[in-house]
Symmetry: C2
Subunit: 387 residues, 2 copies
């Protein structure tokens, strides 16, 4: 008898989340040891309802399309499981005779994964549980970086460069770009690449350092006065000196977190009103995690690899781990995979190192050494004839 | 003695405006008849100041990079020339002994081009003037379509599809996408492609038909209730029944036009407040005209071709024309170029045919027959496993 496996997605997707699913499915098929491949329809919701998709006989050419399919191809949700939900989760796992359970998500999902594993052990269930990391925010600990981050960072870097060139080629306004990241500034920091790719001034404001708005406006005025065009990148979660987001949507998510948003529009309004300089705010928002044309190739490959690695670990009877990435950056970038105990990664948030933020709005060299290979490295050289 | 040529950009750039510049420069070099290639630094501003870039000896490999360089590589401006400016323009043309003048822009720029040509004739100046069309809005008349539109439409179609999948894969909110286009809905209409590429409901609101907000909200509620996820695409210039933009920035541009903006956030706020449904607004804004990874290949090729065609026409002593595109769509797409009198295109705005807007929020088949080949045609097939 072959194994029965279940894959579920938790929380917001990344541009490469489906590549991890592809890695699990193709490795399961290649193993010859799996005879049922289930996926939870809409994540935890699907597990609780027993609403599973049977992917066992989905044609290989459809599975191959997961490579360039944005969002979650099997559906996800933001429901945080409560203590009362866990018996239902185990019930579904028993009913479908699941041998290996893979939960693909961020901090909250790794916590879920850990609890399912502990509960299964306690109840004597013959279950292997492996977490597959995924977050565009890059805020998972222990792993060098998280699949999904490289693509989100590449999106931030390239779109910041494109907007910077628009701003310096038609210098009529300061362009303010809002990027995702409520608590961690990893993605917004990548926008600083625009200063290296273009002839434009770039300022970045991350959630890790509280922003003195008067000082920020003074900096914007000074850099704008250089006449080279100015791009300001702000994280959606950027905070003022009072610790509150500069702007929020007034909504709360399923985990009880306030949903920030509108930071760029807020900054643009301030630039217009207080500095008398034209400004416009751009907020690609979810495109920063859904855009396929900006995907980083190494990120895509690693997302696939962690899925495959998780499947193979479970078939070796490993359980209670997350597939994690180790990386060397010298002499060339090389990554490898290892198993990190779920207990160590659950609910721990990896913050952007504050020492990489210089003068409140510049990003230090170590960040680029860290992030460049993850973003794919192959950045375009532009023809800047007007210099 | 070879010819001296001058190229200038007017107004907002497109993702392929530099390909037209590349076409002019490479054709000029190939002709063997041009010995000076100038470009106006920051468009009309550069012409008025006599601030010209000399591109004559720029290496071929730098010119080749124009292909993937966003925004205007030589700089542009939004200054509308007044009657008092024209003598200064002619002064610059005389001072640099310009034989051929190429102005790359939209309606306003074609008007400028026309006036320069008329004035030069009146003053007996030996000058050839050719307009090169460019506008992401596709609102230039006579030409079948405008270089820059295909890429902006591809951006709209693919990013709408990516957001639609995000909305249907994690169905916690209605996503409202704002796209550029103050008066013409061509680009926003392309977002309707998302309904063909995904399993999601898509509603589009264009500036050509005034929006009854109550009816719009009722439609949003009804389509959201189908539970397949809902993407609402609104043009930045979408108007209410009173003819005013649903939202504007309170700013006025150099041509005296009110700058609309914030329509998506306005609609999202209404969805939250009046329908009690979660919603988020995304506004990639200038990325819709600056994004290189979403460029349409046929658009890029045609942008190059019109530049080359304009140069060759001027060297044949043609003057007072815009390089225009004719297209056949059956049995396969084929385009060819012709010269359209500047007097016929100046200041005429091509509107989106209102008969292509069905029920106020759907786009009819003829639009897709028209626009699909311009967007490149090669759209991805996604793996929608959760269906």
């Amino acid at each position: 008898m072959g194994k029965k496996i279940l894959v579920a997605h938790g929380g917001g997707p990344t541009a490469v989340i489906n590549c991890s699913l592809q890695g699990v499915v193709e490795a399961a098929r290649a193993s010859g040891k799996v005879d049922k491949i289930y996926a939870a329809r809409f994540g935890a919701e699907g597990i609780l309802k027993g609403d599973l998709l049977d992917l066992t006989n989905v044609p290989a050419e459809t599975i191959a399309k997961l490579r360039h399919t944005p969002a979650s191809a099997i559906g996800s949700c933001r429901r945080k499981l409560s203590e009362a939900d866990y018996p239902t989760v185990l019930e579904t796992l028993k009913r479908f005779e699941i041998d290996c359970f893979f939960y693909n998500g961020g901090n909250d999902s790794m916590d879920t994964c850990h609890k399912v594993n502990e509960l299964a052990k306690k109840e004597g269930l013959d279950l292997r549980v492996i977490g597959i990391p995924k977050t565009m925010d890059n805020d998972l600990d222990i792993t060098d970086h998280c699949p999904g981050f490289g693509s989100a960072a590449r999106y931030a870097a390239l779109s910041a460069a494109e907007l910077a060139l628009d701003a310096s080629g038609l210098p009529i306004h300061v362009v303010v770009l809002e990027l995702m990241g409520r608590n961690a500034g990893w993605v917004t920091a990548a926008a600083a690449m625009a200063a290296r790719l273009t002839d434009c001034e770039v300022l970045t404001y991350l959630p890790e350092t509280p922003v003195d708005e008067d000082k920020m406006l003074a900096g914007i005025e000074r850099h704008y006065a250089k006449g080279r065009g100015l791009l300001v990148a702000v994280s959606e979660g950027v905070r003022g000196l009072d610790g509150k987001p500069l702007a929020d949507t007034g909504m709360v998510d399923g985990f009880g977190h306030t949903i920030p948003g509108g930071a760029a529009q807020h900054v643009a309004d301030q630039i217009i009103q207080k500095l008398g300089i034209k400004s416009r705010a751009e907020k690609p928002g979810l495109l920063g995690r859904a855009s396929i044309p900006y995907v980083s190739i190494p990120d895509r490959e690693e997302a696939y690899a962690v899925g495959k690695f998780a499947l193979e670990a479970a078939l070796r009877d490993e359980s209670g781990y997350m597939a994690a990435i180790a990386a060397e950056r010298s002499p060339v970038y090389r990554s490898s995979l290892f198993l990190a105990p779920l207990a160590d990664v659950a609910n721990v948030e990896k913050k952007f190192p504050v020492e990489w933020i210089v003068d409140g709005n510049q990003i230090a060299e170590p960040f680029f050494q860290y992030a460049l290979p993850l973003m794919g490295g192959d950045f375009p050289e532009y023809a800047l004839l007007r210099k």
